[in-house]
């Protein structure tokens, strides 16, 4: 599985001098800062700093850019926990339980959980990449639109589990998100609902919508309160409590490992990646939990599942880049640009002829993960200060940053206006107990779903079910999905029924 000669060469490349590591800590800090500010994307940070890598050698450049990637993935989770603002779509599920924990005064523990789950997730993702880069590349090549449809469907099933009090409200919110995702030019080039506005040609921009519906609407609700954490004694930033959260993570090994595996596999699928991985992982953690009723109210399992999956998907996303030369998302596209800067072409020949470089990138990323644990712990003390800011000052400041973030994404007035419109929608939804996350999931996955469905229909000649039978991976995924969605709850209720009978 591992070419030992290339492995030893990679160790030599990495550890014979300090040069490859010089830019890792600055990269992690840049990633943490960009990831934790709404509107500043990780891919944007990587693009901004791409020219800096021109003067570096290839390995140094790769480690610098991937450290921005690694730091950014965790930074998005920090604001999701502290302010209910997912820095990117890969941190949506982190906010579901992280923010309620913060409101209960458990922000230190939640940050510790998130950090440890991120570190373990990223570690598992890269270990899998190291061991399985060959087979994973073959797997990725066999993924077609039908397989993507099944994966996206799996992500969408989370909608049904988001609102315990009223299933119709959850479904309505999700369906509305799906409907909103259909605005703009369709996959086949048909123009819909643009009302003559050029800003709507590409549809509604998901990140400003997410910032508005999650953050701005929540901030409006917070108005009038004194602090994010009401109890003054719990408003401290405590390293022991953060470390307690870190330790707590390892008391949930099942959730941690399952989340990491889900993230690595889904992350390897180009175009799907961490946005879907964190949702699927969260959904599975809730479905398999013995206490699903505490999810959404501050369950540590929820934070662990989401953060481990979005971090391990980073390793997965590198599979397609290194083994096939295909970028799976915006961040890996910037990495591909760095490849071409240094006259390197990813793909099977890159893995075959420059195995030592491939291994050194993967091993370097494992080193970064360890450094993230240290840097993260130091930075959390600064980032966590937000709970000490009076809400009278925090609410308008973060609202202003939300609008700026919207502009940062789109570069036009459409961004801030999308934030404002979705803030109003989110406020109405929260007042009436509709899960805003369901709308975001629908909006995020709707367009992806449509594109893959249309491609499946075209490839199958209008017979998708017959086509499904010819696709073993899609069929396998479909069977596993049905087993997980229907089989597991059935088994659970049967077991409960049997226990009740024996008890009686």
């Amino acid at each position: 599985m591992i070419d030992t000669f290339a492995f030893s060469q990679a160790m030599g490349l990495l550890f014979s001098s300090i040069d490859p590591w010089l830019w890792v800590i600055p990269g992690l800090l840049i990633g943490l800062i960009f990831g934790s500010i709404p509107g500043l994307q990780i891919s944007m940070a990587m693009a901004v700093f791409l020219p800096v890598t021109f003067g570096m050698d290839f390995l140094q450049a790769m480690l610098f850019l991937t450290s921005i990637f690694t730091g950014g993935a965790y930074g998005g989770g920090v604001t999701a926990i502290l302010m209910n603002i997912p820095g990117s779509s890969s941190s949506i599920a982190t906010a579901f339980d992280g923010y309620p924990m913060a409101r209960q005064g458990k922000h230190n523990e939640a940050l510790g959980l998130g950090l440890a789950a991120s570190v373990v997730g990223a570690f598992v993702g890269y270990i899998l990449l190291l061991l399985l880069i060959g087979p994973l590349a073959a797997f990725v090549l066999k993924i077609g639109p039908m397989e993507m449809v099944v994966v996206v469907l799996w992500g969408l099933t989370l909608i049904a589990t988001l609102n315990d009090s009223s299933l119709p409200k959850g479904l309505m919110a999700g369906a509305f998100g799906l409907m909103l995702s259909q605005i703009g030019m369709s996959t086949t080039g048909v123009m819909r609902t643009t009302v003559g506005n050029p800003h709507l040609l590409d549809g509604i921009s998901v990140v400003p919508a997410m910032i508005g519906i999650f953050a701005a609407s929540e901030l409006l609700r917070l108005r009038g309160g004194s602090y994010l954490v009401q109890d003054e004694t719990q408003r401290d930033i405590s390293l022991p409590k953060i470390l307690r959260g870190v330790a707590e993570t390892f008391r949930h090994p099942g959730v941690l490992i399952r989340g990491s595996l889900i993230g690595a596999v889904i992350g390897a699928i180009p175009g799907v990646g961490s946005s879907v991985a964190n949702l699927v992982s969260y959904g599975e953690a809730k479905r398999t939990s013995k206490t699903p009723e505490i999810f959404g109210k501050g369950a540590p399992d929820g934070v662990i599942a989401a953060e481990s999956a979005n971090s391990s998907s980073e390793g997965g996303s590198m599979t397609a880049l290194l083994a096939l030369g295909i970028p799976g998302g915006a961040a890996t596209a910037v990495l591909l640009a760095a490849f071409s800067f240094h006259n390197i072409i990813g793909g099977p020949s890159f893995i075959r002829n420059q195995t030592d470089i491939v291994y050194s990138i993967i091993l370097g990323n494992l080193g970064q993960v360890v450094l993230l644990a240290v840097i993260g712990l130091l930075m959390l003390r600064v980032l966590g200060m937000v709970v000490r800011v009076p809400l009278a000052y925090l609410v308008p400041s973060v609202l202003a940053m939300c609008a700026w973030g919207g502009y940062g994404i789109t570069g036009t007035i459409a961004g801030p206006l999308t934030v404002a419109a979705f803030a109003g929608l989110g406020w109405l939804m929260r007042r009436n107990d509709y899960p805003v996350a369901a709308t975001v999931i629908g909006l995020l996955l709707g367009r992806m779903m449509e594109g893959e469905l249309v491609r499946t229909l075209q490839i199958s000649g209008g017979r998708p079910f017959a086509y499904l039978m010819e696709r073993p991976i899609a069929m396998g995924l479909f069977v596993v999905m049905i087993l997980v969605l229907v089989g597991a709850p059935l088994l659970k209720s049967l077991r409960r029924h049997r226990q009740r009978r024996t008890g009686a």
């Binding site: 500010i37 944007m44 693009a47 901004v48 119709p168 409200k169 479904l171 309505m172 369906a175 509305f176 799906l178 409907m179 909103l180 995702s181 259909q182 605005i183 369709s186 086949t188 048909v190 819909r192 609902t193 409006l220 609700r221 108005r223 009038g224 809400l391 009278a392 000052y393 609410v395 308008p396 400041s397 609202l399 202003a400 940053m401 609008a403 700026w404 502009y407 940062g408 570069g411 036009t412 007035i413 801030p416 206006l417 934030v419 404002a420 419109a421 109003g424 929608l425 406020w427 109405l428 939804m429 007042r431 009436n432 509709y434 779903m449 449509e450 469905l453 249309v454 229909l457 075209q458």
Partner: protein, 145 residues
Amino acid sequence: MSARLPATHAALLGIILALSGYIGWSAVQASAKLNNLVVIAPVGAAMLLLAVALIVNALRRPAPEPGETTSVWGDLLLLAGFAVFCYALTHVGFDVATFAFVWAGVVMSGGKGLWQPPLFAALFTLLLVKTFGALFPYPMLTLVL
């Protein structure tokens, strides 16, 4: 009906159905082929059923206790202010719009003192323009800074 179905819930359902109806109508007008309606048609049908279920459910329940109306008006005022601020960013300038919104927002959210809110708004705006704004890959209109 309005007693059992709170005004904000009725407004939300109205917005959802009106927007979804328009999106569906617009899509059918653009092209009635399967490829164009593969998501819209089934989701639209499901939404109609869900809307009926939600309305019937709300009407069968006892009327909810009247909520605190002052907080609703306060929220709506801040929301309206936020919408104006978002629009003003590229029309008045990021600096002036941010300064005015943060000052007004601090006062509306209960910030005390005569000089603290404007001082905080000025410092926050300066910080935002010089750091956040410098990272933007787009031109940013400012009036003063």
